[in-house]
């Protein structure tokens, strides 16, 4: 059996009185790719953000490689969990190179030349080596998101979280980002991705999670979820979604 990298047990999250996550249970094995789909406002982002403790939660447990994630160890654990945001969130005052090397230099105390070589290799991998000295403002959205992915990979994460990585992109820029993610997934990266790109989710996932109203309504193989979901809400969501 493969090692369980992430284990979420009975996770509950409230924003004030609003009950946003209502008892989430999820296990992610090493190398596994999980897509989370579901209607807007269902709690997908909140779930991802709870995993690396960008949000506090009120009940439940999240274990990373068997270790509970808490405020006292979170900085160390975050270096092992990469996160890619819908809005890219590149640092606009820094060049692409500096975006990539900042955390390795300051957090991991990586030697400068090592960080530089690593940044070059990763930019090569996402096809943006020629932009190494550009500021983010001079890049297209798709390029910015690819840089953001490279920035996360600089820390050698063991788990990658993607929160709707292509939702803020013009349609013609979606593919270049999905190509990078696909390449990453094929290399064996353990991945949780929230996405509305159903075809992509179906192609890359080992498991698809349908999250609605703070609950995991249904989990299954992509084949199962996309062709014969058990739950009527999943069916309803997909019918609506695939028709638009």
């Amino acid at each position: 059996m493969r090692e369980i990298i992430l284990k979420i047990e009975d996770l509950h999250k409230f924003y004030g009185k609003l009950h946003v996550l209502k008892g989430i249970n999820l296990e992610v094995a090493k190398g596994e790719v999980i897509s989370i789909i579901g209607p807007s406002g269902g709690g997908k982002s909140t779930l991802l953000r709870c995993i690396n403790l960008l949000e506090d939660y009120q009940r439940g447990k999240i274990l990373f490689k068997g270790e509970p994630i808490a405020h006292k160890n979170v900085n160390r654990i975050r270096t092992q969990i990469g996160m890619v945001f819908q809005q890219f969130n590149l640092f606009p005052h820094l060049t692409v190179l500096e975006n990539l090397t900042l955390a390795p230099l300051k957090v991991k105390r990586m030697p400068k030349d090592v960080a530089y070589e690593k940044a070059k290799a990763l930019l090569e991998r996402v096809g943006l080596l020629d932009k190494i000295h550009e500021k983010p403002a001079n890049l297209s959205g798709g390029q910015q998101q690819r840089v953001a992915i490279a920035r996360a990979l600089m820390m050698d994460p063991e788990l990658m979280l993607f929160d709707e990585p292509t939702s803020a992109l013009d349609p013609e820029l979606v593919k270049e980002v999905l190509d990078v993610i696909r390449d990453l997934v094929r290399s064996g990266m353990t991945t949780i991705i929230v996405t509305h790109e159903m075809r992509f989710a179906r192609e890359i996932s080992d498991k698809v999670v349908f999250l609605d109203d703070g609950k995991i309504v249904e989990v299954g193989s992509p084949e199962k979820i996309f062709t014969q979901p058990d739950n009527p809400r999943t069916r309803e969501f997909l019918r609506h979604f695939l028709s638009v």
Binding site: R49, N52, L54, N75, R76, R78, T79, I81, G82, M83, F85, Q87, N89, L90, F91, P92, H93, L102, A103, K106, V107, K108, K135, A137, A148, R151, A152, M155
Partner: protein
């Protein structure tokens, strides 16, 4: 040459010396104000009450009391509690603490002007709160608030003339000496006004220049 012009020219070195003192006084105060303001500005946004409350009290108190009273309090009041400063130091300390409250509000607005996602991206890479502030948030915040900080510097330059009341020798005080010897108020204070204006005008140009250089 008219008599008044001769007097002004004869006393020009003294006035310029006063102007240099004003610049020293203001620069030192601005540095103190920046240091205090940066920390207090962050404190006002802290999740912890232990930082937030004292920061708020400081800002509200300083902004709610006249600088004149603050100068008297520091120079004449504190010695009674055993804390004695010379005139120049008292002025620097008071102006610095005073400016710190205004800078804090500017810094707070600057930090809030940086999208939340920047902080989260930094933290998600494993940076501590301090690292995220230092390398990601504050550089962007300061870029955004540079004009406001420049205005604060300019305001402080003018307000530093109040330090005259505790006898600090700066531009205004120098002018008063000259007037008390020569009885030529208009030309001397007119010259002083001109010097203040030249300083603040230069400052505002410098700020504008820095702003254009820093633009992304």
């Amino acid at each position: 040459m008219p008599e008044w012009l001769k007097v002004v020219l004869d006393n020009l070195p003294a006035l310029l010396k006063g102007a240099v003192s004003t610049l020293q006084l203001t620069s030192l105060s601005v540095l103190i104000g920046l240091a205090i303001g940066t920390f207090v500005g962050m404190g006002r946004l802290s999740r912890h009450r232990a930082f937030r409350y004292p920061a708020s009290i400081y800002v509200e108190f300083i902004r709610g009391t006249p600088l004149l009273v603050q100068l008297f309090l520091v120079y004449f009041g504190l010695p009674e509690l055993g804390l004695r400063f010379d005139r120049f130091t008292a002025a620097v300390v008071t102006l610095g603490i005073n400016s710190g409250a205004y800078v804090a509000e500017i810094v707070r607005a600057g930090i809030q002007s940086v999208p939340r996602g920047q902080y989260e991206a930094a933290r998600s890479l494993g940076m501590t709160h301090g690292q995220a502030m230092l390398y990601v948030i504050l550089p962007q915040a300061f870029r955004n608030i540079l004009p406001a900080l420049g205005n604060e510097f300019i305001a402080l330059t003018k307000e530093s003339s109040l330090a005259t009341v505790i006898g600090t020798v700066e531009l205004m005080r120098s002018a008063q000496y000259i007037v008390s010897r020569t009885f030529l108020s208009f030309p001397v204070y007119g010259g002083v006004a001109l010097i203040y204006f030249l300083i603040t005008f230069t400052l505002s140009r410098l700020v504008r220049f820095a702003e254009s250089r820093l633009r992304v």
